[in-house]
């Protein structure tokens, strides 16, 4: 039960809004953080917390692409395929995933580590091609950086190549290093 585990956080979320239902997406995120996806049980519990019926939670949950109603891999590779990234070669990135991990869009590696989604624009068109892995952005991808990201993720669960706070182009006397 989310309530037992996150009572304080739930109360804080509810306190932000004059109408309970506004806390629905934040609570779906909470459930997703807890289980990796939003289960039926979680949706029912959230419905109870917000005095909604389960269908009311379900209709909202299914509208938004970031709410996963099914489990996804530990690392959710979301490669932007919109025009701006495509102009910079995002189809190639999807190709790399296929050759390096053996999965296409919507698929998960057998070890459950990686899921690939080809997604629409993630507001990083100036630094294309790019992908988001879980919460992190990786921009101006090359095959080299891509390989390093996969290796680091497998090894450490994170990768220092993630980008942000975002600024592009960087100020003229660009800072050396990262």
């Amino acid at each position: 039960m989310l309530k037992d585990k996150y009572q304080q956080e739930i109360d804080e979320l509810l306190s932000r809004y004059p109408v309970k239902r506004s806390a629905l997406i934040p609570l779906l995120y909470l459930a997703q953080r807890d289980e990796g996806f939003v289960s039926e049980g979680a949706m029912k519990e959230i419905a109870g917390l917000l005095h909604l019926t389960p269908p009311q939670v379900y209709e909202t949950a299914t509208f938004y692409t970031m709410i996963n109603l099914k489990p996804v891999g530990k690392f959710h590779l979301q490669v932007c395929k919109s025009l701006m990234c495509a102009l910079a070669g995002s189809d190639t990135v999807i190709g790399w995933v296929k050759t390096k991990l053996g999965i296409g869009p919507g698929e998960t590696t057998t070890d459950g580590l990686f899921t690939l989604s080809a997604v629409e624009c993630l507001a990083a068109c100036g630094t294309a091609p790019m992908m988001q892995v879980n919460d992190d952005y990786y921009e101006r991808l090359t095959e080299d950086t891509f390989d390093r990201i996969l290796a680091d993720l497998k090894k450490d669960g994170s990768c220092s190549l993630k980008t942000g706070p975002f600024m592009w182009p960087e100020p003229a006397p660009a800072k050396p290093g990262a």
Binding site: E40, M43, A47, G48, H51, L52, T53, P54, P55, Q56, Y58, E59, T62, F63
Partner: protein
């Protein structure tokens, strides 16, 4: 919905000038001008959503085409609905809507009454769509309701109806974009109120009834507009039949008191009438068993036995019971038969189970036997107080009026109910309450007293009444002073602040309607509580204000008619006092015969007299005292002693099984007549099919008895009886679209506040006894379920799909306390006996209470104590304290 005022605006629609109330939508204004604008998503019951874009029109001086369903008509507006531009727009929108439609009209039940079909025809729609059509996989089947999402036009009328009108919110649009699909939750079948509203409001064949799937084409069906028999709301239904087969029920929008809305009982319960167990031939008991006989044999048998008993024991050896499900014509004829042909006032109807409490209270305080308000007043009320109604289950359509008042008109809803607010699969009126007092049924009386005390002590007493009836006010003030807030708090669990807050809300209201439901009316002290609620209105100055009033809710479809027809011992037709000489004289003149003088026995009194051997013969029309009364009344033993028990019945009930003669009666689907609903509105009942087997309408059977008994009460058809009713009760049942509510009689009120209130004030203004609930026990209550109505509906295959058997509803906390979960077997017991059933855990049941639906409670009745109201003789046996144990 835009607020409609009396102000009007004038606009032009296709050159037709029309004046409409300010706030009217263009699509409605056009309808009034006789111009039909095509639409899918618009429905007058729902807030505009403007999603289908079908109703686009040109408005002068507006650049883009506008949706007429979301545009409010304004002064001087010029609308064009038939220009080439508009026509092309309609055609193009239709082309889009048709693009993904499967065009499976040959196998679609909506075929022939489908908006998409009709508009396609109108616009000779063609489509250039040559791509792959969207296909939704069918993942589950819901009981009773079939969804075919490939046919869906995503207008969301079903979803919006389920939310805005029903407040159930069981349907939702799932997914996004073109893959949006109407579903409930995950791959789970629909679990909801099954009101059928989504089926009715779907403009295409996306949501249809599984009860009649593939059974008909609409044009093959014969239609009969009649009235539903499953509660006192009096909903208009249209029964559709193919020969003798009942195919479907629906209700036309804006039709009847229900405005086309129905509940599960009304929409899916209709098969009860055509159940194979119907008694289809007269039966006579020969050598201890009931055997088939001809009508002539049966009538002759009854006549001979009746004459014999009458000669030996006189007319007071007879009694009669009739069901409040019968028509006014039958109820009227029944009491006339008992009073004239037999010669006794020993007669009663199912109104005795509780409805009489409300009626007698109204008669005593305000001199009417009907509500002084109508459903329209409920919708327009600014304050609604509900006491013991569980309205969404017991009187679902009156419940819709309350929901409409709260959701659309922003009325303040105050509730005193044995209910916990909780969102569930069926609606719960307390979810909409501004203030809710959760009180056990046994303490409703205490809560009402708390409210009265708060009104009086909060100085809310209307100066008018204080001046006009100072004795009355001071007597009541004195009475409430005797009750301590501390005691009230112990009885009800409610603080004086809460009572004060609710009292202030009641007093602030300008249009205040108080609704009392079956749970209150059938409780011990129900009559006193009704009087006290009337006192509340009187003290706060609301009783005679326009739009204000007291509204006790009827359980049976014609309980109100039973009272008005005089089918209770103490009342003559017109609900006149039997003891009143003028009234007796009037009836005698009309009937050209003297009325019996001896006061009649009521339900329980008749059972007692049968038991004592005083009553030798009972005529029972559609009633089942053996099955309905708790075993301590010993109805079975009493009725077994009778020399003659005649039952007119649809089914071989527990009572009919004891009868000497059982006569097959026609159901309401098979006869004509009138029903009077809870508001006191008489409405026409029309036959949809011929009487099943050899069955006959009850009035015909009664008429035949009278002929065989040599005192003929002869009528050619039901209408002739109605004509006689009208001669006795002037203007009865004008059968207009809405009732004209009587106003409270000032002289009756005067009588009440001077003398009438006195004799029982002390009793009514005393806290009801507090049950000491011991560890391991709960207070068991008999309740009405949304899915059944008495035992009649348990013969409906549709309703049995949703609720097939008995179950005990229990709060999660209690369930945990007894280590019970949904589906577990549980044994309920007290010193009277025991009963085993299945548990269903529901949050809306308050802690410490448990509910058992009364239609399956037969076996459990032995657990209940029965108390008879000294004034109204109403037996109450709705609560019992029982021990709870998990059964293995």
């Amino acid at each position: 919905m835009a607020n409609q005022t009396t102000e009007t605006v004038r606009l032009m629609i296709d050159g037709i000038s029309i004046s409409v109330p300010k706030g009217t939508l263009v699509i409605e204004a056009a309808r009034q001008a006789g111009v039909m604008i095509p639409h899918f998503c618009y429905h007058p019951k729902l807030k505009p959503d403007a999603n289908c874009r079908m109703c686009l029109v040109e408005i002068e001086r507006v650049r883009k085409l506008q949706t007429s369903c979301s545009t409010v008509a304004t002064e001087g507006m010029a609308v064009r609905t038939a220009t080439t531009v508009v026509n092309d727009a309609h055609k193009s929108v239709l082309e889009f809507i048709l693009a993904n439609h499967p065009l499976d009209c040959p196998v679609c039940d909506q075929g022939g009454r489908c908006d998409l079909q009709d508009f396609s025809h109108q616009y000779t729609a063609t489509s250039r769509f040559a791509e792959t059509k969207r296909i939704f996989q069918k993942e589950y089947f819901s009981p009773l309701i079939e969804t075919q999402m490939n046919r869906c036009v995503q207008c969301l009328r079903c979803v919006r109806y389920c939310d805005e009108v029903m407040d159930v919110k069981a349907l939702a649009p799932i997914g996004r974009g073109t893959m949006t699909e109407i579903k409930s939750f995950g791959n789970h079948p629909l679990d909801c109120e099954f009101c059928g509203g989504c089926v009715q409001i779907c403009p295409v064949g996306a949501i249809t009834s599984r009860l009649s799937m593939y059974e008909y084409r609409p044009w093959m069906l014969k239609r009969a507009d009649t009235i539903c028999t499953f509660c006192g709301d009096g909903c208009q239904i249209t029964v559709q039949t193919k020969d003798q087969e009942l195919i479907e029920v629906n209700s036309a929008h804006s039709g009847g008191r229900n405005n086309g809305d129905l509940c599960a009982r009304g929409y899916f319960g209709f098969h009860a009438a055509s159940h194979p167990d119907r008694v289809t031939h007269p039966l006579i008991r020969r050598n201890g068993t009931l055997v088939e006989a001809t009508w002539e044999e049966a009538l002759l048998f009854v006549a001979e036995q009746t004459n014999r008993i009458k000669q030996a024991h006189g007319p007071q050896a007879f009694g009669g019971l009739i069901s409040g499900r019968c028509t006014n014509e039958e109820l009227y004829l029944f009491q006339k038969f008992m009073r004239l042909t037999i010669g006794t006032n020993n007669l009663d109807s199912s109104a005795r189970y509780g409805h009489v409490n409300g009626v007698q209270a109204m008669r005593r305080v305000q001199g009417t036997h009907r509500w002084t308000v109508t459903f329209e007043d409920i919708v327009q009320a600014d304050v609604l107080l509900l006491v013991g109604t569980n309205i969404t289950e017991a009187n679902p359509i009156t419940g819709l009026k309350v929901k409409e008042a709260v959701k659309k008109q922003e009325a303040t809803l105050l509730t005193i109910e044995a209910l916990q607010p909780a969102v569930g699969t069926i609606s719960n009126i307390t979810n909409l309450s501004k203030q809710h007092l959760c009180v056990a049924p046994s303490q409703f009386g205490a809560a009402v007293l708390g409210l009265l005390k708060a009104v009086i002590e909060g100085d809310h007493v209307d100066p008018g009444i204080r001046q006009r009836a100072s004795d009355y006010v001071s007597a009541l003030s004195h009475a409430v002073r005797q009750i301590a807030w501390e005691d009230l708090a112990v009885s009800t669990g409610i603080s004086s602040d809460s009572f004060a807050q609710m009292a202030a809300s009641v007093v602030r209201g300008r249009r205040v309607v108080v609704l009392a439901g079956q749970i209150l009316l059938r409780s011990q002290g129900g009559y006193g509580m009704c009087l006290n609620l009337l006192d509340l209105l009187l003290l706060s100055g609301k009783l005679t204000s326009p739009g204000c009033g007291f509204a006790p809710l009827a359980e049976e479809n014609n309980d109100q008619g039973a009272v008005e027809m005089g089918a209770v011992a103490e009342l003559l037709p017109g609900a006149l006092d039997l003891t009143d000489q003028d009234s007796r004289d009037r009836m005698a003149r009309a009937w050209k015969e003297e009325l019996p003088l001896v006061p009649g026995g009521t339900l329980i009194e008749m059972v007692d007299r049968a038991s004592a051997g005083i009553i030798k013969s009972l005529f029972v029309v559609g009633e089942n005292p053996v099955g309905s009364l708790p075993s301590q009344i010993r109805a079975k033993e009493a009725l077994s002693k009778l020399d003659l028990l005649v039952c007119q019945e649809l089914f071989l009930t527990e009572t009919a099984a004891l009868a000497h003669v059982v006569l097959p009666a026609a159901s309401a689907m098979e006869k004509a007549g009138t029903f009077t609903n809870t508001e006191g509105h008489a409405q026409a009942v029309r036959p949809a099919i011929d009487p099943v087997g050899d069955s006959r309408p009850d009035w015909e059977i009664l008429s035949a008895f009278s002929v065989f008994l040599g005192a003929p009460l002869e009528y050619g058809e039901a209408k002739e009886i109605l004509k006689e009713i009208r001669s006795v009760i002037p203007g009865y049942g004008s059968l207009g679209p809405s009732p004209i509510a009587p106003t409270a009689d000032p002289s009756a009120i005067d009588r009440y506040v001077t003398e009438g209130y006195r004799h029982d004030v002390a009793i009514r203004y005393t806290l009801p006894p507090r049950a000491v609930r011991q560890e391991g026990t709960v207070q068991l209550g008999l309740v009405q379920s949304l899915f059944h109505s008495g035992k009649f509906s348990t013969h409906s295959k549709g309703l049995l799909q949703i609720e097939p058997s008995a179950f005990l509803q229990m709060n999660p906390v209690d369930a945990a306390r007894f280590a019970l979960g949904s589906g577990d077997r549980v044994r309920l017991s007290n010193n009277r006996g025991q009963f085993i059933t299945t548990v269903k855990v529901l949050e809306r049941v308050p802690e410490g209470l448990a509910w058992l639906p009364d239609h399956f409670a037969q076996e459990a009745l032995r657990l209940f104590d029965c108390v008879i109201d000294p004034d109204t003789k109403v037996p109450s046996f709705r609560t019992a304290t029982v021990s709870v144990l998990k059964a293995t």
